[in-house]
């Protein structure tokens, strides 16, 4: 995956995400999920890392969708074989979670195998509006910086806490930490902005295009994606 042309990879994995959004078939969602894990394995990307990163999206989704499964539990329907094995709510929950799992895994696979600046270069190549790209670039950069700032702050506090804190103390400490995190983030943001400007960065940042190439691997990848999309369409019909 890392060696694939970034444009082909971006288009291919985005197509898979679109496929998971438009199909209700659990089999198709599972197939996408399986293909993503297979590609990850073949590319030497740790499967556990792929799973843990996509779980960050799946778990909150599960929590959000859970009430739907519970509150629509009385909508049992009868088919030729008797009762359906799941309630409508439960089957909705399973398909929904599978959909999110497949889409997020495809997204994580894209991020794990492609540098963010390459993704931005490709999007620019696809003529995505500059303003959107700028928002993406700035958000990505400051998210990483803020995460590192928060990590440092948490470590510094942790190293000076010598006893177990009660709930009230934890909340009050947390509030103080949040306040200093916000102040530090603003300061850090200012300094990074200065560093950007000092290196001639203007409103619209520029990046070099990655070296594009389309070879046998790219065609194989395209073929795999095409088969999956065809399968998805057949299953939907």
């Amino acid at each position: 995956m890392q060696k694939l042309d970034a444009r082909v990879k971006l288009l291919g994995l985005t197509s898979l995400i679109v496929l998971t959004v438009f199909t209700k078939s659990a089999v198709v969602q599972l197939s996408v999920l399986l293909v993503c894990y297979m590609l990850s394995y073949l590319s030497g990307i740790s499967l556990s890392r792929l799973a843990s990163r996509s779980l960050v999206i799946i778990v909150p989704t599960f929590i959000i969708a859970l009430p739907r499964a519970i509150f629509s539990f009385n909508t049992f329907s009868v088919n030729a074989l008797g009762f359906q094995p799941f309630s409508n709510g439960l089957s909705f929950l399973i398909v929904f979670i599978l959909r999110i799992a497949a889409a997020s895994t495809a997204l994580v696979l894209l991020i794990s195998s492609t540098g963010f600046s390459k993704i931005l270069s490709c999007l620019r190549w696809f003529k995505v509006p500059k303003l959107l790209l700028w928002i993406m670039a700035v958000t990505h950069r400051y998210l990483i910086l803020l995460a590192s700032e928060l990590h440092r702050l948490a470590l510094a506090r942790e190293s000076r806490v010598y006893k177990d804190l009660g709930i009230r103390e934890v909340w009050s400490e947390g509030g103080r930490m949040l306040a200093s995190f916000l102040m530090k983030s603003i300061e850090r943001g200012k300094r990074v902005q200065m560093a950007t400007v000092s290196r001639n960065g203007g409103t619209f940042l520029k990046f070099y295009y990655p070296n594009f190439k389309v070879g046998v691997e790219e065609w194989l990848f395209v073929a795999l994606i095409a088969v999956l999309i065809f399968f998805g369409m057949v299953m939907n019909i």
Binding site: R191, M194, R199, N200, L205
Partner: protein, 299 residues
């Protein structure tokens, strides 16, 4: 090869054929900067740094050294006073154009390295200047080899050691080949190897005729790099400006600014030397003379 007289006429250069009068790259006049909360950043600063010169801005913590550099790069707007860069008065209109010839190294390398990989950080500056990619690749290759970053290019910056980060940050400004380097504490928080490497490269750049202004409070480093010292004190004013030898041998002046002379200089001052050495090498030379001389104090 351009030769500069560092004693009597530092503004005169000799290029082998004729004398050339040096031009100031940075001229600061009556500069004042006050932060939004009312804190004074810089007060009545006056200084001149000539083309090809390496000047050290030295002073204790909080004396406004970093603020001075940010002002020289046009990142902060002076409250009062003027700054001339390459002979042009620095203002909002020409700051972007002038900045193309300036490389600023900030005190914290983490602020400089905000991309996903070191390579992307090195490409950042040239990309903003629309430099041709093949030319940039050659430049990155050259700078990375010079700074020992060859095997770190594809690593994320936050995985690097402090020394590696500082070298990567320095590389990120050298790829655009600026004429003026503004370096904020370039050797602070780095290990000995990285310090040596950075010093070696800065000396090479100096020999190539680049103008360098760096800040430090480590006076042991100054004699190895600078030809001139700009001394600032806690009142944020420029207290003195002069040759490295004159300033570093004036222990009283340094102490009023909250600084100590280099260790070797202090040792020889304590031993009663009127003209103490500034570096270990000079110290060894002085000691050798003492050991081979019958009248040590007279040497």
């Amino acid at each position: 090869m351009v030769i500069r007289c560092t004693h009597c006429c530092p503004h005169i250069l000799w290029d082998g054929d004729e004398y050339l009068t040096s031009k100031p790259v940075v001229k600061v006049e009556e500069l004042q900067y006050i932060y939004q909360d009312g804190t004074v950043g810089v007060e009545h600063a006056n200084l001149v740094v000539d083309e090809g010169e390496c000047a050290a801005i030295v002073g204790p913590n909080g004396s406004g050294k970093s603020t001075l550099l940010l002002l020289m790069d046009g990142l902060l707007k002076p409250t009062k006073g003027r700054i001339h860069i390459f002979g042009e008065p620095l203002n909002e209109k020409n700051a972007k154009r002038l900045r193309r010839r300036i490389g600023l190294l900030m005190q914290n390398p983490d602020d400089m390295l905000f991309n996903n990989t070191v390579l992307e950080d090195l490409e950042f500056g040239p990309a903003q200047l629309d430099m041709p990619k093949d030319e940039v690749e050659l430049s990155i290759d050259r700078v990375a080899r010079r700074l020992g970053l060859g095997n770190l290019l594809n690593k994320p910056p936050y995985r690097l050691s402090e020394g590696e980060k500082q070298r990567a940050a320095l590389a990120s400004i050298l790829v655009t080949e600026p004429d003026l380097l503004l370096l904020d504490e370039p050797t602070a928080q780095v290990d000995l190897d990285s310090k040596r490497m950075i010093l070696h490269i800065l000396n090479e750049l100096k020999a190539e005729g680049k103008s360098i202004i760096f800040t430090t409070h480590d006076l042991n480093l100054v004699p190895y790099l600078a030809s001139k010292i700009i001394l600032v004190d806690r009142s944020k004013r420029v207290k003195a400006e002069g040759s490295v030898r004159t300033i570093l041998q004036d222990i009283h002046l340094l102490q009023t600014c909250g600084l100590e002379p280099p260790d070797i200089t202090k040792l020889f001052i304590d031993l009663g030397f009127r003209e103490p050495p500034l570096t270990i090498e000079e110290g060894v030379e002085a000691l050798t003379k003492i050991l081979t001389c019958s009248k040590p104090r007279g040497c």
